[in-house]
């Protein structure tokens, strides 16, 4: 594995988006992963529609009543991949733009599918495996506890104590070997996370969190998606 890796340098990551006042982080995490997978399979970076997921994806867990993707009230990236697999794919952002509300009806048009899922996987809670899957399969959808993110401005976040209960969906796009941690007098490796709170949050919309001990649950809910090339009909 390379010591440093960043999918942004390779053109696999779209610009930072803004979910607004809507709990649709899961849809941004899912589209980000599929955008990366689509880039790997086609060489083209296409911004995909979160609004399609917000409006149309109500995928439920068959084993638990009421556990369904539900727009601004939350969802799950693996369920979004499941929906995308069943629906045939996602439209482009420009064809089905984001509104930040879930009060509209589903306007999915199959003839405008721009990217499709071939399969998806969950990745074991092992940082080397996460890094290997990131490098091999593109940006990964991850869950994280966002408590420290409300006040985050920059630097490598490495809280002494952080709940591992994930409540926010984000996109893992890379890692670095050495983010300097002056207080601890050593270089700390970190993950690079793309968030969906706009560019005026964090480090131009990105968050750095240290690697090594499943901080804030970042290693425990990681999923990878593979894309097949779809052409508009």
């Amino acid at each position: 594995l390379p010591t440093d890796f960043d999918w942004r340098d390779k053109g696999a990551v779209t610009n930072v988006k803004d979910q607004g006042s809507c709990g649709s982080c899961w849809s941004f995490s899912a589209t980000g992963a599929l955008e990366g997978a689509h880039f790997l399979s086609t060489g083209k970076l296409v911004s995909l529609s979160e609004q399609q997921l917000v409006d149309c994806d109500h995928e439920c867990d068959p084993e638990e009543y009421g556990a369904c993707d539900s727009g601004c009230n939350g969802g799950l990236m693996t369920s979004a991949f499941e929906y995308t697999l069943k629906a045939g794919g996602l439209e482009r952002e420009e064809d089905y733009p984001y509104t930040g509300t879930d009060r509209g009806s589903c306007k999915f048009d199959r003839s405008k599918i721009a990217a499709s899922v071939s399969n998806f996987s969950v990745i074991s809670i092992d940082e080397d495996q996460i890094a290997a899957n990131l490098v091999n399969h593109g940006p990964l959808a991850v869950g994280i506890n966002a408590m420290f993110m409300q006040t985050y401005i920059g630097g490598v976040s490495c809280p002494y104590i952080c709940s591992k209960r994930q409540d926010h969906g984000v996109l893992l796009v890379g890692y670095g070997a050495a983010g300097y941690a002056p207080i601890r007098f050593k270089e700390k490796p970190f993950w690079i996370i793309k968030n969906s709170w706009g560019e005026n949050w964090g480090e131009n919309g990105y968050y750095k969190i240290c690697r090594g001990r499943n901080i804030c649950g970042v290693d425990a809910m990681v999923s990878s998606v593979a894309a097949i090339h779809a052409t508009s009909q």
């Binding site: 594995l1 006042s21 809507c22 709990g23 649709s24 982080c25 899961w26 995928e59 867990d61 068959p62 556990a67 601004c72 009230n73 939350g74 969802g75 799950l76 693996t78 369920s79 991949f81 499941e82 697999l85 399969n119 998806f120 996987s121 969950v122 990745i123 074991s124 495996q129 290997a132 899957n133 091999n136 869950g143 966002a146 408590m147 420290f148 409300q150 006040t151 985050y152 401005i153 920059g154 630097g155 490598v156 976040s157 809280p159 002494y160 994930q166 409540d167 926010h168 941690a181 002056p182 207080i183 601890r184 706009g198 005026n200 949050w201 750095k208 240290c210 809910m221 999923s223 990878s224």
Partner: protein
Amino acid sequence: ATVSPDEVEDPLIRQVVPDAEDHLLNAEHHFTTFKASFGKNYATQEEHDYRFKVFKANLRRARKHQMMDPTAVHGVTKFSDLTPREFRRQYLGLKRLRLPADAHEAPILPTND
């Protein structure tokens, strides 16, 4: 005791705390800057006062986060006028992971070379 001007400007004594640091304790100053930076307007004086109260609580939280997370920088963000509950409700939305039938665990990849 008296202090001569020469002593005040002694080149061997350097002020290391910027004067602007005084503002750190000035929540009103921070709130005014916050409103200007993020284009925040509140409909009523009551709402404004309530948000100011929340903002002050978040300044304290940011200071606490800074102590607990010293390698990052914590401070005023666009969410500084939201309570933790409002923040969770409006900006977070990840449900608990349950594996769908089609999901499978990724094969273990080699990580040497």
